[in-house]
Symmetry: D2
Subunit: 353 residues, 4 copies
Amino acid sequence: MAGNSYGTLYKVTTFGESHGEALGGIIDGCPPGIELDIEAIQYEMSRRKPGQSAIVTQRKEDDQVQFLSGIFEGKTTGTPIGFIIPNTNQKSDDYSHIKDAYRPSHADYVYEQKYGLRDYRGGGRSSARETASRVVAGAVAKQVLKDIKINAFVSSVGHIFIDKPYQDLDFSKTESNPVRCPDEASAQKMEEYIREIRKQGDTVGGTITCVLQNVPIGLGEPVFDKLHAELGKAMLSINAVKGFEYGSGFCVAKMKGSEHNDLYNIDGTTKSNLSGGIQGGISNGMDIYFRVAFKPVATIMQKQETIDNQGNVVEMMGKGRHDPCVVPRAVPIVEAMAAIVLADFYLLNKTYK
Amino acid sequence: MAGNSYGTLYKVTTFGESHGEALGGIIDGCPPGIELDIEAIQYEMSRRKPGQSAIVTQRKEDDQVQFLSGIFEGKTTGTPIGFIIPNTNQKSDDYSHIKDAYRPSHADYVYEQKYGLRDYRGGGRSSARETASRVVAGAVAKQVLKDIKINAFVSSVGHIFIDKPYQDLDFSKTESNPVRCPDEASAQKMEEYIREIRKQGDTVGGTITCVLQNVPIGLGEPVFDKLHAELGKAMLSINAVKGFEYGSGFCVAKMKGSEHNDLYNIDGTTKSNLSGGIQGGISNGMDIYFRVAFKPVATIMQKQETIDNQGNVVEMMGKGRHDPCVVPRAVPIVEAMAAIVLADFYLLNKTYK
Amino acid sequence: MAGNSYGTLYKVTTFGESHGEALGGIIDGCPPGIELDIEAIQYEMSRRKPGQSAIVTQRKEDDQVQFLSGIFEGKTTGTPIGFIIPNTNQKSDDYSHIKDAYRPSHADYVYEQKYGLRDYRGGGRSSARETASRVVAGAVAKQVLKDIKINAFVSSVGHIFIDKPYQDLDFSKTESNPVRCPDEASAQKMEEYIREIRKQGDTVGGTITCVLQNVPIGLGEPVFDKLHAELGKAMLSINAVKGFEYGSGFCVAKMKGSEHNDLYNIDGTTKSNLSGGIQGGISNGMDIYFRVAFKPVATIMQKQETIDNQGNVVEMMGKGRHDPCVVPRAVPIVEAMAAIVLADFYLLNKTYK
Amino acid sequence: MAGNSYGTLYKVTTFGESHGEALGGIIDGCPPGIELDIEAIQYEMSRRKPGQSAIVTQRKEDDQVQFLSGIFEGKTTGTPIGFIIPNTNQKSDDYSHIKDAYRPSHADYVYEQKYGLRDYRGGGRSSARETASRVVAGAVAKQVLKDIKINAFVSSVGHIFIDKPYQDLDFSKTESNPVRCPDEASAQKMEEYIREIRKQGDTVGGTITCVLQNVPIGLGEPVFDKLHAELGKAMLSINAVKGFEYGSGFCVAKMKGSEHNDLYNIDGTTKSNLSGGIQGGISNGMDIYFRVAFKPVATIMQKQETIDNQGNVVEMMGKGRHDPCVVPRAVPIVEAMAAIVLADFYLLNKTYK
């Protein structure tokens, strides 16, 4: 399996299965001399971890990150930062029922076809637990980018959505509710809906919106490595993501040029920002905002027919502790991937000076 | 400027500005022994080139590709394939009015901020003319992937869209009309709408849908290099693209797990295909389909206020020959980028055997 | 710091300082389904570790590798293999004397100039302890390449050298003596010389020769990624290496074409093998052999003048437990790097089939 | 074939066979705003080209480089620099005798084994003509590195060598003789020797020494991407190179630590420079110097037995115009590759500021 690295200059490589000894990763290319706030990193981990509230999975995972290198007397040294997150609370016997059968809309079948075998415990490498390492690398990236504000939040769950522009939201409220929706009225409705879905033994999709503010002009590279292309890849690489749009997004397809163009102010800022802070693949100093669509979790507490590796039809039902809706816990993951992308382009942009 | 390469094993690197001597590129990693059908490549070029019909730009560009290496006695040799596309019909004087001023929603301003200077003729490197090189590389990739069918088509222009699933369309009709929409009734409406928009001196956005059929099981790499993440990056790297979704796409955000899961048939195919042919980032042998949103062309034949590099407000109006709607000509570009991504993963997947 | 990854398809990324919590790394791209012999890996670690005999450093390092992922029921799964090697026996106080002063011919000064700070304990990342992670990755690579024989050995220490061609040596004797020289007469002289050097508080250089047998035809890529160019980089990246030559090596500079050309046998093998098994950067099926020069360890048990970070002249003398000659312990490192390079090209070559 | 790119930030990709339409390449990542001296680039081309003097091959190649992009009003724009070098004087019929037979110690056999076919005209991609593109990319890199002095020269031909340290040489004399040896007495002997060798229908090897001066402290990355490791790979990737050593090189193997250590002056410079300007893989501000060994050209004007692709023994004799000794023309190639490596690390080092 290739594909476990992200970035060119701020380069993150991760490893780990959901039921192995540990997950972890290496951040290569982190600039030296940064005083790392370890608590801030652990805080991001706690936002992602299961068991935070009644509407997310009740699995207990400690998700304590241990840094093994690259930090000396509290500062980054410029050498690679190795870290692990031990798997402390995994029960492998929970997963014996999927040893031979392929869960619908999971990666079981394709892993076995591609690799000839799979670590079936909890989905192995395809488990969303993999994203824990991304959150660590993103939390470090945030500290590289001290002046940039990165705010993701849940903008819809099922048919319930925030019907305000992001400018009218108070991001400081995102963490005030278990849904991670800064609009409290919407948050309450979403929470109720998720409880209801869970009672049905079902799951539901949602969207996350992310706003990047104070991004310097000039990040992103033209042609293949446009800033939004890389953000798109980063988001689409997160488990369960099915769509990405930035700025005016899919709505743009119905618009006219005369409506869509962002006219300039005298200082180079723009009067409108349908471009979403990026032109020609390069940040223009305006807010960058994008939206990410997540599918409903495939593991449901209802009986489904499926097949096993002998070609038999078998019946299967989700066991254990799963999220009825993945978006609340995905908020820190979206922020982490955005931070990793920005850190990489930020370093790359220094080579032009 | 970095970012002019795409792919790891089937690696494409391009160069060229709209008004330089030539565009071109290098395909490194093309397998040896492929009998290249040069006419098929030139056919793809003709699909992208301007001046094909009344509803696209009337600029004349010959877009003749010249291969300089990597082919011997009609076959690829495994060595890098270098090619150029001379710029034969560029009028630099057309662009003097934008030498000092920044066109709204174009890359003029950010290029100058990032690089300190820019080739202002026709947008230079940020011109969509850059995509000609992608079409060459994609046309070669299609020949590497002889068994895979790649069909893109215009699925909407402005508010007009095909209201049928792609399974009900006859892709052989895509080239029968200037819009490249295989649903003839929709195609006619779209064409009329584009003519109307052009009369207004305006432009309009649209969407392209792409269907990949007969893709072998196992393409794509888990975690960061998921197949759909790479397809998303590839599409978002095309000029004017604002959004990407695959399978159930953004609709998924409103769905329940019980509705969304694709149940298996006994042979490993699935009864439904909301997953869009990809699970856990790996192709599962079902059709892959995705949708791409394009913004309206920023150059309009109407007066707009903007600023120049002295900080003055100036008035500007599009000159010359521009597309009122970009999607018809973008169809071969979408196919090209899809082919490049698939060729790369196809080669990578061979390393597991 | 960048530069902590090696390889494209068999990709190794490492981290760790000599006195941090642990060293470790990630192997991304190891093929699935390989039954890993963990003892064989640990055996390679024991060849590299300090304290094996009277002529190497008497530091005790356990060098137990712990695999954290990528292996399931004894087989590689194709997912990234994460591993750590805890630092169990480090005494940081040994190094307080070099906190502010720069050891001659060490990396202390340049690290501080480049990064603005350094982890001075035991050389930090610049310590040869870093190579422990390489040995793990190389030991796994050897198991990917079951049919290829990789044999390195000490071919000279100071002025003492083996005066036989490698074809006359019995590689099974390499491990029979602490110098790792398969020619027993030379081994004994080398051992005596190293003991003598150590008594003087001095150190001495040497060379390692490596022979790769049974390499399939076709490994290596022309132009920049020639097989010997990559082997050269891999060897030169090992601490203390100052030179690399393959086949006829530096002697070639004095030879004539009529003497140097390797004429073909009817089966495509060659009558002589001055080419060293590589032509045009591609393996030709003959033995590959190369030679690597190591400098004497810079830390000596004699007083030397040096400077500190305040610009003062200070006197310094090596403390602790250092190798009088590095080549015996470098043998498994040379083999490891050769295996990593071959594994990468081996996988890459599969994409042509 | 992969492996036609070099560098991460200053990234060079090349294409072209000796008898195709043209060679060429793309430089991606060249900083913007550099006033390119095109004549200086063409001058480097003329140093490499055949037919310069009586002791090199009498083939006529114009080697005129044409830049196609990335330059505007005399300055680099930061976009990729595409260039071609048309093949104007190739006679394909010269090569019919090697269509089916494999020249000894050439790449004919391995190319055919690896790729299944080969462009046999003049060696195709394996021809040293490929290095013309490197010289272009290196000549541009030299202009990126205005303050760094890069001087290569012929230090030996056959058994004749300069017996002075490089500090006693006047590099301005390198171009004063056809051998490119700055020591005029040695140059004359070398020239005579090469004439004699040519009369014998034979060829001879040699060495090139290269000195890099005024390199800033801090270039190079520890562990795998050490500055000397990358220089080594770059040199070993040049056709006919068999060995690389830097600083004290292979001699180091006989030295003691007490002799080899470079002691510091109070300003951070060192009293001696056996390290060759690099410590721990990072430049320390002292002169970097290294030596490269070239084999004798494999094509000789004498009869040799070889085999053809039907397994027959055939007799072969070199035809046409070949170099009796490759080192005089390789001097600009060595400089070019050194410049490419330095430019890449120079840009990378900016990311730490």
